[in-house]
């Protein structure tokens, strides 16, 4: 069989089911690939070789015994380090959690384990998922497989880079303002933020609870659908979990791949284009619209006038909720404890010393901003006003979805930038997420898929947004565009990525 690491999860699942390959072989091939390229890419913070192979052996034995297995059983997966995994180190990219071994699994990890997917390891990320470049990880940068001098996006740069570098066919991401979709865009991979509440948040180390959502990171739209169906569904341990069945996403992806979008209305969001968008990004976007029209879709323009205020609202809500969520890192029950070098060793002073030493620059920046926004006298003016903008953005979405079944835009305004380019300019860094943030504020689902290379030879992403609870539309339209694009390219976009040096 040809290189196992180049296969999609769906292809691997079919080979496994047919008995053409074992899960041990598939898992070992990916572990070998990690050993060969991850010195350069640094997508992983921890590689769990032994437990991955143990799972693979177990699945092979159960398959041999004729057991009825989940379709993805035996297909390996990487998990973002913000998701707790029992027995595997979980740091969320922060020094304050260095060495912490969680005593429990996140619900989505329980589902992955129950389905028999070997967990290859934990992927790098911006500390506590705060960032758009993975440069804010306390454990070093992840490098973009397309150009090792450039960022892989963030916060989930590790998951996206792992999938783009063929170190894993599947990965888990989390998306608070674009942390699944923007890394997908800049690495030429697919990422989906489900409807808020569609995937349990139990066991995710929370940044902003009203925005956080876990989802799939893959190389194909169908693979995302397969993984989304596995991790989705109601969880009584998450009080914001939607108590309703997961939509039929795999069927939607398969239907979309047939290429017929007759009767589908695609709305182009006027406010998510033009100034600030790189020329190559805009050009690929226009070409993709033509492909959608050729598939039978009706393309209309819609206006969402309050999207221009989304970034400002986000940068009040997110730090406010993060400052509250991160109060638990107090040096008392888990992770780092630092005692003050002089004066009395009291709990309060230990907490301040621990957080001063354990948090990185961006986390300090956001916690302090959030504390300020929530402090006496400011709450209504800041957090309260931002929540009103959230209402206005929801109204914009509601009006737009009257005219269109899905909304589309470029996922990110630019391709991957070089390390350090935006590190000292928080506002420039935050602008990466200008097109992805509205979905988080409104709770609607979004998908990014690669739609070509810009003038600089780097990948560009195409974003599709659907109404809440209509995630299946993302997969139908996404799979249709993917198949039309691959017809033009003659194969997947990652075939055009430079070969990584094997070490």
């Amino acid at each position: 069989m040809s290189d196992l690491t180049r296969q999609s999860a769906a292809q691997l699942a079919a080979h496994l089911a047919a008995g053409e390959v074992s899960s041990v072989e598939v898992t070992q091939a990916h572990l070998d690939r990690i050993a060969a390229v991850d010195t350069d890419v640094h997508a992983f913070l921890h590689v769990s070789t032994e437990s991955a192979l143990a799972t693979a052996r177990d699945i092979d034995a159960r398959r041999a015994a004729g057991e009825d297995l989940h379709p993805l059983a035996g297909v390996p997966i990487a998990v973002k380090d913000v998701v707790v995994t029992k027995g595997l180190p979980t740091t969320a990219g922060s020094k304050i959690l260095e060495g912490w071994i969680p005593p429990y699994d996140a619900t989505l990890v329980e589902k992955i384990k129950a389905a028999g997917l070997p967990i290859l390891g934990k992927t790098n990320m911006d500390e506590f998922a705060m960032g758009s470049s993975t440069e804010h990880s306390a454990y070093g940068n992840t490098r973009n497989p397309w150009d090792l001098d450039r960022i892989p996006g963030g916060s989930g740069g590790g998951s996206a880079a792992a999938v783009a570098a063929f170190e894993a066919p599947l990965a888990i991401g989390t998306d608070t303002g674009g942390s699944i979709r923007q890394p997908g865009a800049v690495t030429g991979t697919v990422g989906v933020k489900p409807t808020y509440g569609g995937v349990s948040r139990y066991g995710l180390i929370a940044m902003a609870s009203s925005l956080d959502q876990a989802g799939p990171v893959t190389r194909t739209v169908l693979d995302s659908a397969l993984l989304h169906e596995l991790i989705g569904g109601h969880d009584p341990r998450d009080s914001t979990s939607l108590n309703e069945p997961v939509p039929t996403l795999v069927d939607a992806a398969r239907q979309g791949a047939l290429g017929d979008l007759t009767g589908v209305r695609v709305g182009v969001v006027k406010e998510l284009s033009g100034e600030g968008y790189q020329a190559g990004v805009s050009a690929r976007f226009e070409e993709s619209l033509e492909l959608l029209k050729s598939a039978g879709a009706e393309v209309v323009e819609v206006s969402c006038p309050h999207f221009v205020n989304a970034l400002a609202a986000y940068y009040l809500i997110m730090p406010a909720e993060a400052s509250s969520n991160l109060a638990k890192f107090d040096g008392m029950r888990f992770g780092l404890r630092v005692e003050p070098t002089e004066g009395p060793v009291t709990a309060e002073r230990v907490m301040s010393a621990t957080r001063g030493a354990g948090f990185g620059d961006e986390v300090k920046r956001r916690v302090i901003l959030g504390t300020y926004a929530l402090s006496a006298g400011y709450y209504d003016a800041y957090y309260g006003s931002a929540q009103k903008v959230r209402t206005l953005i929801q109204r914009d979405f509601a009006a737009a979805f009257e005219k269109a079944d899905v909304l589309v835009s470029p996922t990110a305004p630019t391709t991957a930038f070089k390390f350090g380019e935006k590190l000292d300019d928080p506002l420039a860094m935050y602008l990466n997420d200008v097109a992805t943030i509205p979905a988080n504020l409104a709770g609607v689902p979004g998908l990014s898929l690669p739609n070509g290379l810009s003038d600089d030879g780097l990948p560009v992403g195409f974003q599709i947004l659907a109404p809440a609870r209509a995630d299946e539309r993302l997969y139908r339209v996404g799979a249709a565009l993917e198949s039309a694009l691959e017809n033009v390219w003659g194969g997947p976009i990652l075939d055009q990525a430079p070969e990584l040096e094997i070490r």
């Binding site: 504390t371 300020y372 003016a381 928080p426």
Partner: protein
């Protein structure tokens, strides 16, 4: 619109229980001003007639059945604690902080 002075950053950092070095205070005071400016924009559109949205898809009366479930393993929890004694977290002095 207010800006964040160095003293204000120091006050808020104390509220947030984060020790900052003098260099960090200087840098944050400069950087946070940029972000706080964004607040003016939000205030301009957040008129009194607009209701606030605290949660994207509001759910109400979310309860689970009141049945006991197995707790986490105490030894596993304590294995990752900074300090413990007799199966409990060992923490610094918490009373008499003003003394």
């Amino acid at each position: 619109m207010s800006t964040l002075s160095r003293d204000e950053v120091a006050r808020v950092a104390a509220l947030a229980r984060i020790d900052l070095t003098p260099e960090e205070l200087d840098r944050l005071a400069g950087e946070l001003v940029v972000i706080v400016d964004a607040i003016a924009e939000v205030s301009a559109v957040a008129t009194p007639d607009v209701p606030a949205t605290s949660h994207p898809l509001p759910l109400s009366n979310v309860f689970r059945d009141d049945v006991p479930v197995a707790p986490l393993d105490v030894d596993e929890i304590m294995a990752s604690a900074p300090a413990s004694e007799d199966g409990r977290f060992l923490v610094p002095q918490i009373l008499g902080e003003d003394s």
